[in-house]
C-alpha cells in the first residue's frame, strides 16, 4: 500500500502548510493568559477527557 503512504504524507504536508501561518502569527503575537484562564481550560478539557472515557466504557 505504498501509494496510500504517499497520499497520507501529502495530506500531512498540506496540513503542516496550512498550520504554519497560524503558528507564525501566534509566535509573533502571543496572547498572555490571565489569572484563572489555564485552570478553567484544564477543567473543561478534563471534562471532555472524562466524557470520552465514558463513551469508551459504553461501547465495551
Amino acid at each position: 500500500m505504498e501509494w496510500m503512504q504517499i497520499g497520507a504524507l501529502i495530506a500531512m504536508g498540506l496540513m503542516a502548510f496550512a498550520m504554519w501561518p497560524m503558528v507564525k502569527r501566534w509566535r509573533e503575537n502571543p496572547v498572555e493568559a490571565q489569572e484563572g484562564d489555564w485552570s478553567t481550560a484544564v477543567f473543561i478539557l478534563g471534562l471532555v477527557a472524562l466524557f470520552v472515557l465514558m463513551l469508551i466504557w459504553s461501547v465495551q
Binding site: 503512504q5 502571543p30 496572547v31 484562564d37 481550560a41 470520552v52 463513551l55 469508551i56
Partner: protein, 224 residues
C-alpha cells in the same frame, strides 16, 4: 446620558448585533454543511466507494480549503466552495463509516461517535457563548500541539504503532476542543467576522473529533 456615552452605547449595540449575526449565520451554514456532508457520506456508502477515496477527497478538500476558500470567502462563490469542501469530506468519510459498520459492534460505535461529537461540540460552544471568555491565550499551545501531532502522524505512517495512533487521536480530540473554544470565543468577541471562514474552522474541528472518536471507539469496542 452625554453624547459620548450614547455613541459608545450605540457602537457597542451595533457591534453586538453584528456579532450575533455572524454567530447565527455561522451556525446556520454549519448545520447546512454538516447535513450536506451526511448526504454525501450516505451516497458514497450506497455506491460502495473504495476506502482509498477518503485520502483523495481529503487532499482535494485541503487544497480547496487552503488555496481557494480564503480568496472566495468574501464573495458568494465562497458558499459554493465551502459546500464543495465539506461535500468532498463527507463523500470521503462514507467508505470509512462503511468499514466501521461492517464490524460486530459497528452501528453502535458509529452512533456513539456521532452522539459524542455532537455533545462535545454543543457543550463547548454553549460554554464559550455563555462565558464570553477570551480563549486566544491557548493559541500557542494549540499551534505547537498541532505541529507535534502532525510530526507524530508522519512518523506513525511508517512505524504503524497502534498505541501511538490511539495517543494521536486522543490529542486531536483535546486540541480540537481547544480550537472550538477559541473559534467560538473569537466570533463572540468580534475577532472573526467572516461566517464562511468561521464555519470552515468549526466544521474541521467537528470532523476531526468525529474521525478521532471513531478510531478510539473502534480500537476499544472492536471485535479483534
Amino acid at each position: 446620558m452625554d453624547q459620548r456615552t450614547m455613541r459608545q452605547a450605540s457602537v457597542a449595540g451595533l457591534s453586538s448585533l453584528e456579532t450575533n449575526k455572524v454567530l447565527k449565520n455561522t451556525y446556520l451554514l454549519l448545520s447546512a454543511t454538516l447535513g450536506f456532508s451526511a448526504v454525501m457520506a450516505v451516497m458514497a456508502m450506497a455506491l460502495n466507494v473504495p476506502t482509498g477515496a477518503y485520502l483523495i477527497c481529503m487532499i482535494a478538500s485541503m487544497v480547496l480549503g487552503i488555496f481557494v476558500l480564503p480568496k472566495t470567502a468574501n464573495s458568494g462563490a465562497g458558499l459554493g466552495v465551502i459546500f464543495l469542501v465539506t461535500g468532498l469530506l463527507g463523500f470521503g468519510i462514507g467508505p470509512v463509516i462503511s468499514l466501521y459498520l461492517s464490524m460486530a459492534k459497528g452501528p453502535m460505535i458509529v452512533a456513539t461517535a456521532l452522539g459524542g461529537t455532537a455533545t462535545i461540540f454543543l457543550g463547548l460552544s454553549a460554554y464559550a457563548t455563555m462565558t464570553k471568555r477570551d480563549f486566544s491565550f491557548m493559541g500557542g499551545f494549540v499551534a505547537v500541539g498541532m505541529m507535534v501531532v502532525i510530526v507524530s502522524m508522519i512518523a506513525n505512517i511508517f512505524l504503524q504503532i497502534p498505541l501511538a495512533s490511539l495517543g494521536i487521536s486522543a490529542a486531536i480530540i483535546m486540541l480540537m476542543s481547544c480550537l472550538i473554544l477559541m473559534q467560538t470565543g473569537a466570533i463572540i468577541r468580534g475577532g472573526e467576522t467572516n461566517y464562511i471562514m468561521a464555519t470552515y474552522g468549526l466544521y474541521l474541528s467537528i470532523f476531526n473529533i468525529f474521525i478521532s472518536l471513531l478510531q478510539i471507539l473502534g480500537i476499544f469496542g472492536g471485535d479483534d
